[in-house]
C-alpha cells in the first residue's frame, strides 16, 4: 500500500518544527514513531500534504526524575520505558503499560508522547497517565504551556493540542512513599489493542490505609476515562477484598463502552470490574513491598 504523496520535512530544532506546523496548518502532521501515522497514511485514512519528522531534533529523548517529577521527552520510545530498570522499580504502572503496547518491534519506534497525542481511546498510555495524574507540555510559537492530562483528551482522536504545537514532554509526579501501580489489559493476542484495560496507582499510609488512588480505563468509552468515583471510594480505606471489589463495581459503572470487534459493551464493562479489582490487589501488594 502506497501513501499519498507528501512533502517531507526534517527540522533540526523544535523552533523550526513549530514554524513548519504554523506555515502548513491543517495540511501538516507530526511524525514521531510513525507507528500509527504511517499505517493510516498507507490506508489513505490520513493524507497530510506535509510531514514534519521530529526524530532529528536533538535533546528530546530524556527520561529523568527532576524536582519531584518524572520527565518523559517526546522521543522516548516504548522500548526505552520497558527496558529501564529504574522505571520498572519505581513506576511499575508505566513498566506494565509499556510491555503491552503493541509488540516489541512497534515499541522500538513508538513514542509515549505519540501514544498520548494520537488519543485513540484504545491506546494504553492515556489511562496510565490519568491514573498517575500526569501533565503534558505543549510547545508552540509562544513557548510552552502545561496541560493537565484530565483536560487533554477532548474526544476520540482529539486533544487540547493546537495545530502548531508539539507535545514535548509528559510530566509524572514522583510516587508518594508506599506507592504501587499496575496495568492489566485483556488483549486477544500480542500486538492487539485492549478489549479493555485498567491502570491503577495507589499510595498507602504506614497502617495500610489508602491515602491516594488513581484509576484510568482504556477502551471503556469514546475517550480514556478517569474513574473518579472508584478513586474517591478507595481513599481512606484499607485495600481489603471487599473494598477492591466495590471499587471494581464503581469503575464498571463509570465505564461507558461501546460494542466493537473486540467485545460487547456488557463484556467490556464486566472486564473493567474484574480488572480493576485485580489491578488494585497487585498495586497494593507492590506498595506494601516498599515500591
Amino acid at each position: 500500500m502506497i501513501p499519498a504523496a507528501f512533502e517531507y520535512h526534517a527540522p533540526a530544532s523544535l523552533a523550526d518544527a513549530v514554524k513548519l506546523l504554523g506555515q502548513h496548518g491543517d495540511e501538516a502532521k507530526i511524525l514521531s514513531g510513525g507507528q500509527s501515522l504511517i499505517p493510516l497514511m498507507k490506508l489513505r485514512l490520513a493524507t497530510p500534504r506535509h510531514v514534519v519528522d521530529i526524530n532529528g531534533i536533538a535533546g528530546l529523548d530524556y527520561l529523568k526524575e527532576e524536582d519531584g517529577v518524572l520527565r518523559i521527552g517526546a522521543l522516548v520510545r516504548e522500548a526505552d520505558l520497558e527496558d529501564s530498570e529504574f522505571i520498572r522499580a519505581r513506576y511499575p504502572l508505566l513498566h506494565d503499560t509499556s510491555r503491552v503496547v503493541a509488540d516489541p518491534l512497534v515499541r522500538n519506534l513508538a513514542t509515549v508522547c505519540g501514544n498520548l497525542a494520537h488519543a485513540d481511546p484504545a491506546n494504553d498510555h492515556p489511562a496510565a497517565m490519568l491514573a498517575l495524574g500526569a501533565e503534558v507540555v505543549a510547545t508552540g510559537p509562544r513557548g510552552e504551556r502545561r496541560i493537565a492530562i484530565t483536560s487533554f483528551f477532548t474526544g476520540p482522536f482529539a486533544t487540547a493540542l493546537r495545530g502548531d504545537e508539539v507535545l514535548t514532554e509528559v510530566r509524572v509526579p514522583v510516587p508518594l512513599p508506599r506507592s504501587g501501580g499496575a496495568y492489566l489489559k485483556l488483549e486477544r493476542k500480542v500486538g492487539d489493542f485492549a478489549t479493555a484495560a485498567v491502570a491503577v496507582q495507589v499510595a498507602l499510609d504506614p497502617a495500610g490505609t489508602c491515602v491516594h488512588a488513581g484509576v484510568g480505563l482504556t477502551n471503556a468509552g469514546t475517550v480514556p476515562i478517569k474513574a473518579r468515583r472508584a478513586e474517591g471510594f478507595l481513599r481512606g480505606k484499607p485495600l481489603d477484598d471487599a473494598t477492591v471489589r466495590r471499587a471494581g463495581e464503581l469503575a464498571a459503572e463509570e465505564a461507558d463502552p461501546v460494542d466493537d470487534v473486540r467485545g460487547s459493551a456488557a463484556y467490556k464493562r464486566d472486564l473493567v470490574r474484574v480488572l480493576t479489582a485485580r489491578a488494585l490487589r497487585l498495586a497494593a501488594g507492590r506498595a506494601g513491598a516498599g515500591r
Binding site: Y8, A79, G191
Partner: protein, 158 residues
C-alpha cells in the same frame, strides 16, 4: 525527490527517492535486497523486520527518507564469506522454518535480541519474538533455533 544516504550491511548507498517510498521498497525494489519479505503490509506480521541502528523495526512502517544517514542491517548481512551466522545455522539445525516466509524477520529480531540478551530464558525469547508471526511452525522450533544460536555464540561461534 530527495537524496538519501544510508549504510546497508556495511555498504554505503546514495539514492534519490520519493518521500512516500517505504523503507522495505527501497531495500527490495531499489537496492534489490529481496531477502526482506513483505507479509501483511499493515504493520502486523514482522516479516519485513530489519535493523535500524541496531533496533529491529518493521520496514513497511518506516519511510525510506527516515533512514537518511542511518545504519541498517538486513538478512543478507548475516552470512559472512560463505559462512552462515549461528542464528542461521540454528534455524537449519533445529528445523526453525517450514515455508520460510517469516524467517528473515525472525532472524533479524533474534540477532538483535541475542546481542542484548546473550543467555536468555525461554520466556525472554518468546517475549522478544512476539512481534514476528509464524503461521507454520508453532514457534517451538524457532525457540530452539534461538537457543542453539545463543549456545553457539556463547562458545564464541561468531
Amino acid at each position: 525527490m530527495m537524496r538519501v544516504q544510508l549504510t546497508v550491511n556495511g555498504e554505503r548507498h546514495e539514492v534519490e527517492v520519493e518521500p512516500r517510498l517505504l523503507l522495505v521498497h527501497l531495500l527490495r525494489d531499489v537496492l534489490r535486497l529481496t531477502g526482506t519479505h513483505i507479509g501483511c503490509d499493515t504493520t502486523h506480521c514482522g516479516a519485513c523486520t530489519v535493523l535500524l541502528e541496531d533496533r529491529p523495526v518493521k520496514s513497511c512502517t518506516v519511510f525510506a527518507v527516515q533512514a537518511n544517514g542511518k545504519r541498517l542491517m538486513t538478512v543478507e548481512g548475516l552470512e559472512r564469506n560463505g559462512t552462515l551466522h549461528p542464528i542461521q545455522e540454528g534455524f537449519v539445525q533445529e528445523h526453525g522454518l517450514q515455508c520460510g516466509y517469516c524467517t528473515p524477520g525472525m532472524m533479524m529480531t533474534s540477532y538483535a535480541f541475542l546481542k542484548r540478551t546473550p543467555n536468555p530464558s525461554e520466556d525472554e525469547i518468546r517475549h522478544a519474538i512476539s512481534g514476528n508471526l509464524c503461521r507454520c511452525t508453532g514457534y517451538v522450533n524457532i525457540v530452539k533455533a534461538v537457543q542453539y544460536a545463543a549456545a553457539r555464540l556463547q562458545e564464541g561461534g561468531a
